[in-house]
Symmetry: C2
Subunit: 138 residues, 2 copies
DNA sequence: TTACATGTAATTATTTTAGTTACAGAATTT
DNA sequence: AAATTCTGTAACTAAAATAATTACATGTAA
């Protein structure tokens, strides 16, 4: 199961996008997400590093640096997910066994394709789509 | 990151498929995978429950109950992955916040689509495909 | 300067995953 | 039939990943 960082990050970005004129503090956001403010600050740090938003140290509030329709779920996912590969594999299968010798490269092809399918889907949806579904009256 | 149970399970099934006339013990398979035999027996238990292979208690060896071209990676994945949803979400977002109130159902739609894309890809590849790539001379 | 924020390191707690021990019971061997 | 070897499974331990928390240096602003 994939961690909840994408979910929380979308939540954060949706809050920022729907409150363009308010400076939301990490405490406030944490209250909506229902977690610790530090968790929020860390994710915001990753989102900033990825160029999705900007902040001023010591000052509450964050600003999106792109239009919601230009921020895909894939960008968000990549911003907060350090691992490149989606599927784990067992380490050091027995090289003396014909199956063990080649299983990793073989699986790697399948896993890469599956991951690409997932990422293509995430890449086709934007924060704007989320906002539209979140707030129908818009 | 997704656990390595699919990887190990494909390894197990590939071993069984490539040794149709040999009764492979969990000890032998564990030697090729490089893990503990109990890990293998547990996965084989799940694969049996899913109807992908059959075994006889106390007797070494397992037999595939379907042709490799009729066993998809999705079947294997579902056999050994108890969780239905791929992405986790944060629990109990604040219902007093308009974003918190609707974020789960909104994300659920996106996550479901992404998961379906992944599963469609896993469903399009079979154990036979794996075997062909594993043992080119076949 | 006081109050309140962020950014981040360090620590702790929780959950998930994998590995191990232990053993009852089935199958096989001698 | 006794000894051996294996599976199936529960129980436990270890390791890794994830999330939560504490602590505090530093920036902002009234």
């Amino acid at each position: 199961m994939i961690n909840s960082r994408l979910a929380v990050s979308v939540h954060i970005l949706a809050l920022i996008a729907t409150h363009p004129d308010q400076a939301l503090s990490s405490d406030y956001i944490a209250g909506s997400v229902n977690t610790n403010p530090v968790v929020i600050r860390r994710l915001i740090g990753s989102l900033r590093q990825a160029g999705l938003l900007s902040t001023v140290a010591g000052k509450s509030g964050a600003t999106l640096t792109k239009d919601p329709q230009d921020i895909t779920l894939l960008m968000i996912y990549r911003a907060v997910e350090p691992k490149e590969t989606l599927f784990s594999m067992h380490e050091q299968p027995n090289p003396a066994c014909p199956v063990g010798r080649d299983i990793q490269s073989t699986l790697n092809q399948s896993f890469t394709r599956a991951q690409q399918a997932l990422e293509a889907e995430l890449g086709s949806e934007t924060l704007a789509d989320i906002l539209h579904r979140l707030v129908p009256a818009r």
